[in-house]
């Protein structure tokens, strides 16, 4: 049973990170509005919301399975308070902060209209930091970095994320140049 919970926590952690990256990419694609005519903006937004939501659910599953894993050294304090783990404190801290940022991003998306636009955007963009921290957490703490499949997925996630950010930035730059 030890191994089951540990392996489940590793799997949910990896899937949650990939979902977070996917949500990030879909969000930037939606905001860039330059993805062709195949899908409507509402489709991208809907899937972005969904991916973000299930990324948070899988993150919660990751935390729960880590908590119930015997001998993991992770208790409620380590889960909720950064930098309290006995060992590997910084990699675990990145994961804790990333989980908080995911939760803040998702839970502020529902009452979006209650926030000022600039405030909501600022909060929402912290998900980029959260996803980055989740990737660092996975790389530093995960025992799977030695495997080729993990490395390929890791590099592909970074590449897709950077591509989405780059495409969004290019879109902003073109918009500014057209306006001027």
């Amino acid at each position: 049973m030890n191994d089951l919970w540990l392996n489940l926590s590793r799997a949910t952690g990896i899937v949650a990170t990939l979902l977070a990256v996917a949500a990030l990419v879909w969000g930037f694609f939606f905001s860039a509005r330059n993805f062709g005519d195949t899908y409507q903006p509402a489709w991208w937004l809907d899937l972005h919301n969904w991916l973000g939501g299930i990324a948070l659910i899988f993150t919660a599953a990751h935390l729960i399975t880590v908590y119930v894993t015997p001998d993991s050294g992770i208790g409620l304090i380590q889960i909720f308070i950064p930098n309290t783990a006995l060992g590997q404190q910084w990699p675990i801290t990145w994961g804790v902060i990333a989980a908080y940022l995911f939760a803040i991003t998702v839970f502020t998306s529902w009452p979006k209209k209650r926030f000022r636009r600039w405030l909501w955007r600022t909060i929402h963009l912290t998900s980029v930091l959260g996803t980055t921290l989740a990737l660092i957490h996975a790389y530093q703490l995960g025992p799977d970095t030695q495997y080729l499949a993990f490395r390929v997925a890791f590099v592909a996630s970074i590449a897709f994320g950077l591509y989405a950010v780059f495409r969004r930035l290019v879109g902003i730059a073109l918009k500014v140049s057209r306006a001027s």
């Binding site: 030890n2 799997a11 809907d46 991916l51 299930i54 590997q88």
Partner: protein, 220 residues
Amino acid sequence: MSMTTVPPQPTEVPVDPALAERMDRLAQRSKAAKEAALNRATGSDAPSADPARPTRRRHTARSARYLSLALSLLATVVLTVAFSILSLPSIDQFALAAVPSQSVATSSAPSVDSAPTTVAVPTVSTFNGDVVRTRWGPVQVQAQFKNGVLEDVVTLVYPNDRGTSIFINQQALPMLRSEVLTAQSAHVDTISGASVTSRGYVASLQSAIDAAQAAGAISL
């Protein structure tokens, strides 16, 4: 003589036909929306009163949603099974995975770090255990035997990258030392709160005992 004031009669203002048409259309839509809401509330499957107006889909990416959820669950199951079946590192294996290059060498080994240090008195011998990687850091112990008896265990390396680790291990390691000296073997219970380090400690000690047995220093 009194005069009665007659209130002005409302005059008929001519309505723009385009505006009237638009008002009618809005009224029809409003009526259709009310009927649709009523149908939803009552669970009726009656069609919308305005068939020309397409029903707005709440989730436009419904199929993609299902697909992503299915893929996520499938990936979780596949990864979990793969981690289990393919014997990828688990907790026990983390604790018991000795680093071969740093294992205890026999007396003929040239390495200063890994070679057993034979004390001047022939009946006392010292053997370094393997460096065992745990998830909190490496653990290595040194076993000292005197006349074939486990006389002392010195912890050479343990997780001490922060104050809490040092605090915990400074309590756990003496307890482990006491247990193994009493048991005269590495088959002891782990210390709660330091179970991962305990497993590394035991694994490293076992490798030292194995090396001592191989060298004929003990007969435990």
